[in-house]
Amino acid sequence: MTRKILRNVGVPILSFVLLLLVWQWIVVGFHVASYIAPRPRQAFLAVTQNWSALWPLILGTIRETVYGFFVGAALGLSLGVIMAKVPVLQRIVYPVLVLSQAVPIIALAAPLVLILGFSVTPKVVIVAWIVFFPVTVNVLDGLTHVDKDLLNLARVYGASRWRTFIHIEIPATATPLFSGLKIGATYAVTGAIIGELAASDGASLALYQEHANANLNTAAVYGTTMVMTAIGITWFLLVVGVEVFATPWQRRTVARRWRRR
């Protein structure tokens, strides 16, 4: 068990440290000027030394990411279920969904600002726009591939459609659902940043980075990128955590003690 934790946590940390080392070697080894690429330490300091100014912006980005993720996940799940249950709707809606993902997000931002203003809402919409799609596709795929014999068995027992859905179809879709959520989680922060770039009139993490870039403060640009990445990774890991907790049968041979008195 300890060895497993070491492997699952230790190795990713090690590869992260390795990445920083490579960064350091390249910058130092090739004598890269600090206005082109800072050393990792400088990027870190650019974040920590401006922490009081950055923290509210970070909170803003987190809020947009998380709200957008939940809206997108809920929308994605609902659409997946509806399309799986009503094949006619699937044929009508599916092409529209694919179309929605072909629209460049940047091109979407301008009209969204016109409609929704500069509030948090357009960012949430953009994040949800990105997140819902992998969720819908995976849920739809999961629901349409539930073992027909298992569904027949439920029918033989005399189960209602609702109970079959709750006790068979939904749990059978857990794995693809979480695949969709994990993809959505990694892209969510990107959506929030795009939203901030295109639909901010005031302070935001994306604009902070723009200003730093305009001032040739490369360390702050890199530092901000690291912060954005950290938000994305943290959110992804949280989703993975929920998955591990919610689907114990994928890793365990015996149920947790507290599940059954």
């Binding site: 029918r155 027992y157 005399g158 109970r163 006790h167 049968w249 041979t253 599940r259 059954r260």
Partner: protein, 249 residues
């Protein structure tokens, strides 16, 4: 007493006659084997009895009541164990209750008692992925048992098991059948299995799917491995094999 009766039950899929008009009466408490090659309509017949398919003609009667196209009156088990991976052994056994009502403390206690009685007491909190094929089929059968249906339809339940495990499972099934007094309708394409288990062997044949013979099985119980070499066994096996092979030619 007749538990199940088929009266001229027929089923067609497009141009294919899956089951030509078939009449059959199954006595309560009996063990009836249905043997035949694939395409002989045995699974179609099962699905009609279970209510998954509505017959094109004729009636299915359980305890004298017409049940055409309705479900909820049989226990049903396939070659695939259909255990759900997200539930423990105990929760898989109580699955039917979960799907139709509330799983009570008594249901859980019953599931645990059945599992203990038939050697799976130590695995109640295991997920099915941790079990062997034979154990999984036993759990699937317990799940069928606790539905308290008198009539059990078993469609090649041991078809995916190796020969050794299969023989163990056959003897186990006979023991459970003796303990619980259920009525079993057992599909197989294995002639030995059909004779070893049953009171009666029904032979079916394809194109169109139909019953071609209905043999009473004279072999005494309890059956052991020695049963497989008794003259009466060989005799019945010969008759069944001739029928099946005549159809092949």
């Amino acid at each position: 007493m007749t538990l199940l009766e088929l009266r001229d039950v027929a089923k067609t899929f497009g141009d294919t006659i899956a089951l030509s008009p078939t009449s059959l009466a199954i006595e309560e408490g009996s063990f009836v084997a249905i043997v035949g090659p694939s395409g002989c309509g045995k699974s179609t017949m099962f699905n009609v009895i279970a209510g998954l398919l509505t017959p094109d003609g004729g009636d299915v009667l359980v305890k004298g009541e017409r049940v055409n196209g309705t479900t909820g009156h049989v226990g049903y088990m396939l070659q695939k164990d259909l255990l759900v991976p997200w539930r423990t052994v105990e929760d898989n056994i109580t699955m039917a209750k979960r799907l139709t009502g509330r799983v009570s403390a008594a249901d859980r206690e019953e599931a645990r008692a059945v599992a203990r009685q038939y050697g799976l007491g130590d695995f109640l909190r295991h997920y099915p992925t941790a079990l062997s094929g034979g154990m999984r089929q036993r759990v699937a059968f317990m799940r069928t048992l606790v539905t308290h249906q008198t009539l059990l339809l078993l469609d090649e339940p041991f078809g995916a098991l190796d020969a050794q495990t299969r023989l163990e499972m056959q003897q186990w099934l006979l023991q459970v059948w003796r303990d619980t007094g259920r009525t079993v309708l057992f599909i197989t394409h294995d002639v030995d299995e059909s004779i070893f288990l049953s009171d009666r062997v029904i032979v079916m044949s394809p194109r169109p799917g139909r019953v071609v013979a209905d043999f009473a099985n004279p072999l005494p119980r309890p059956r052991t491995v020695d049963t497989l070499i008794e003259p009466a066994f060989i005799d019945l096996k010969t008759k069944v094999m001739r029928l099946l092979h005549r159809e092949d030619a």
